[in-house]
């Protein structure tokens, strides 16, 4: 496949189509709308299902229904719309069926704005829906990666009968980059032994539900989900390392924040500063192990996010107070400039850091100091 210039939102839409997407259900919302608009043309022309749902609530439950039949199905939205999907997401998790969701995150809370944000990390990673469940969450930082992860998301969802959510900050949805599309996979319906697609004279009836009236039975489901999760944590963690071999300090950032950090790291390297970058690609399962290892040999971490420090806590959990973990975040749709991260690198590499201090509070003080 040749490299083409793709806009992030349209790229993930086409990638999903090539991965064998059979049905899309969605509702317009900026900065995600191009996904829906693209598929409103593309799906019918392939004779596949496209429905503009009455709402995100409708969309997630259409996804739920279609997913029960075992086909590849997805929905996409942006922050407020995704909040409306929380009940449905919890049901899908409790029913142990595969579903793919996309959140092109915008500034919040509330209506907020439509600028790029990463403030839905906790909602996606630590379960915005009720009950114990864990979705797989992928965080691309470029259009090409968005395409690749979009395709992978369907395989992962099916492999683990789990929800796979791709979270992009708005800028990745809106930007254009050269990228290669995968070959058209076309529709091949695996016949799952769980799908409720009608007996059709071939088998006993099947039921899919998330009810376990007896707590002991529900607990068995919870344990089943935990069992899968252990496998996922063992086999599916993905991240990218930059300049880590000799790094004394490690920056951790995903998505656009990770890209910006890369620019800053390069500049620092030119100045001979031994700093590296760890960019989580799966934020759930989280790459705790590599961070744990790094914590054993580096002098400190700098977590950078486009939120108030959400992934930060997962990094701190992995570091366990062995070395300082510092934080720099921008919120509300502000995308940090390279200079800001460079400035932070300078700060952490030149000043004496405090292992016991709370990085979020220190950062807050610096932020308000700035103003």
């Amino acid at each position: 496949m040749p490299r083409e210039l793709w806009k992030g939102n349209e790229a993930i839409a086409e990638a999903a189509v090539r991965a064998g997407l059979e049905a899309y259900f969605g509702y317009p919302i900026t900065p995600q709308t191009e996904v829906l608009e693209y598929l409103s043309r593309r799906m019918p022309e392939l004779g596949r299902a496209f429905v503009q749902a009455e709402s995100e609530l409708g969309a997630i439950n259409m996804v739920y229904g279609a997913a029960c039949t075992g086909v590849r199905v997805m929905s996409s939205s942006s922050s407020p719309g995704v909040s409306l999907m929380m009940e449905g997401i919890s049901y899908i998790a409790g029913t142990e069926i595969p579903a793919v969701l996309v959140n092109v995150m915008r500034g919040g809370p509330g209506l907020g704005n439509i600028a790029p944000s990463q403030a839905d990390y906790n909602q996606a990673v630590h379960g915005g829906g009720h009950g114990d469940y864990q979705p797989i969450v992928l965080a691309p930082s470029s259009v090409q990666e968005a395409i690749d992860l979009m395709v992978m998301s369907f395989d992962l969802a099916e492999k683990y009968r789990a929800i796979c959510m791709v979270i992009l900050d708005g800028s990745i949805g809106q930007m254009m980059e050269p990228a290669q599309m995968p070959e058209m996979r076309g529709i091949k319906r695996a016949n799952w032994d769980w799908a409720t697609d009608g007996k059709m004279g071939k088998r006993e009836r099947r039921v899919l539900s998330s009810i376990y009236l007896d707590p002991i039975e529900e607990e068995k489901l919870n344990l089943r989900l935990l069992k899968r999760w252990k496998t996922i944590q063992r086999d599916e963690v993905r991240y990218k390392e930059y300049y880590l071999d000799d790094a004394e300090f490690v920056i951790v950032g995903f998505g656009t924040a990770g890209r910006v950090a890369l620019s800053a790291v390069r500049q620092a390297r030119q100045k001979g500063i031994r700093v590296g970058l760890l960019r989580p690609i799966t934020v759930s399962p989280f790459p705790s192990e590599i961070i744990d290892q790094l914590a054993g040999r580096v002098n400190g971490f700098l977590v950078t996010e486009m939120n108030s420090g959400q992934m930060l806590e997962d990094v701190r959990l992995a570091v366990k107070g062995r070395v300082p973990v510092e934080f720099y975040g921008r919120m509300g749709g502000v995308v940090p400039f390279t200079e800001e991260i460079s400035h932070e690198i300078k700060r952490i590499t030149t000043s004496k850091l405090n292992v016991t201090a709370n990085p979020r509070e220190e950062w807050y003080e610096r932020m308000v100091g700035m103003r």
Partner: protein, 258 residues
């Protein structure tokens, strides 16, 4: 002149059912509605390609009783789930079975839009004027002045609103192919109800769009009446408030003979 005597089976439990006895309270006409659906699916030979969508409500366990594939929807979202299923498997028969809290309260958006889109689905809508499963709270269909656990002094229309007549409302939508109201309070009406359910599934089988049969049903437990008196209550109070009849029979459907 001698005679021989042979025995004919006049009626037996429909094949559309599993063996499982229902969990419904004694005399609850949810059971009658179930039976009619099972009989129709059997008569139309659809059991094998039917996928049912259960609601949240007393009929949450409907999936235990029908011998078809089944899924269980979040409260009120059955029409959306059914849409998802039908859109990817258009040749299957998909029906939802919903109570009045499920369909007319929390699920209002989903049912109206499924009808407006003309989704090729069948909806069995049980109107028993209250929330049975959670212990008899007020439903959108609760009659004015009717006492429930959340309208302890009787439904006050000034502060708690007026009953919603779903069949009449959905009939205003162009996507609706067959929308009628029937009752389960006596043999005659049960027969008419079955006819309507048959028509609804015929509508879907022929791809003529959205079909819904609203059924006036009892809740002896929460109404605090015997099953027999509950039937009287339906006849005397619910039928007048929810007139039986055909509210939308699209041209194409009108030609269907059963």
């Amino acid at each position: 002149m001698a005679t021989t005597v042979s025995n004919n089976l006049v009626y037996e439990r429909p094949e559309g059912f599993t063996e499982t006895p229902t969990h419904y309270c004694p005399g609850c006409t949810h059971g009658v509605a179930h039976r009619l659906v099972a009989e129709v699916l059997e008569e139309m030979d659809l059991i094998d390609r039917t996928i049912g969508v259960a609601p949240v409500g007393c009929s949450v366990f409907a999936y235990n009783y029908f011998d078809t594939d089944f899924v269980e929807a979040p409260h009120g979202r059955a029409p959306a789930m059914a849409t998802g299923i039908k859109r990817v498997l258009p040749d299957r028969i998909v029906f939802t079975y919903q109570g009045d809290g499920d369909l007319a309260s929390i699920g209002m958006g989903e049912i109206v839009h499924a009808a407006a889109r003309g989704e090729n689905l069948t909806v069995i809508f049980i109107n028993n004027a209250n929330y049975g499963m959670t212990g008899g709270q007020m439903a959108p269909t609760t009659l004015p002045g009717m006492k429930t656990t959340s309208s302890p002094n009787g439904r006050d229309v000034e502060t708690q609103g007026f009953p919603i007549r779903m069949a009449e409302m959905l009939a205003t939508l162009d996507g609706a192919g067959y929308v009628v109201r029937r009752s389960l309070h006596d043999p005659k009406n049960i027969r008419l109800a079955k006819k309507a359910i048959r028509m609804a599934f015929e509508t879907q089988a022929r791809g003529l769009g959205f079909s819904m049969v609203e059924l006036l049903s009892t809740c002896p437990t929460n109404w605090g009446m015997t099953p027999v008196n509950s039937l009287k209550f339906v006849e005397e109070h619910m039928v007048p408030a929810y007139p039986l009849g055909d509210y939308k029979v699209a041209a194409g459907v009108a030609q269907v003979k059963v």
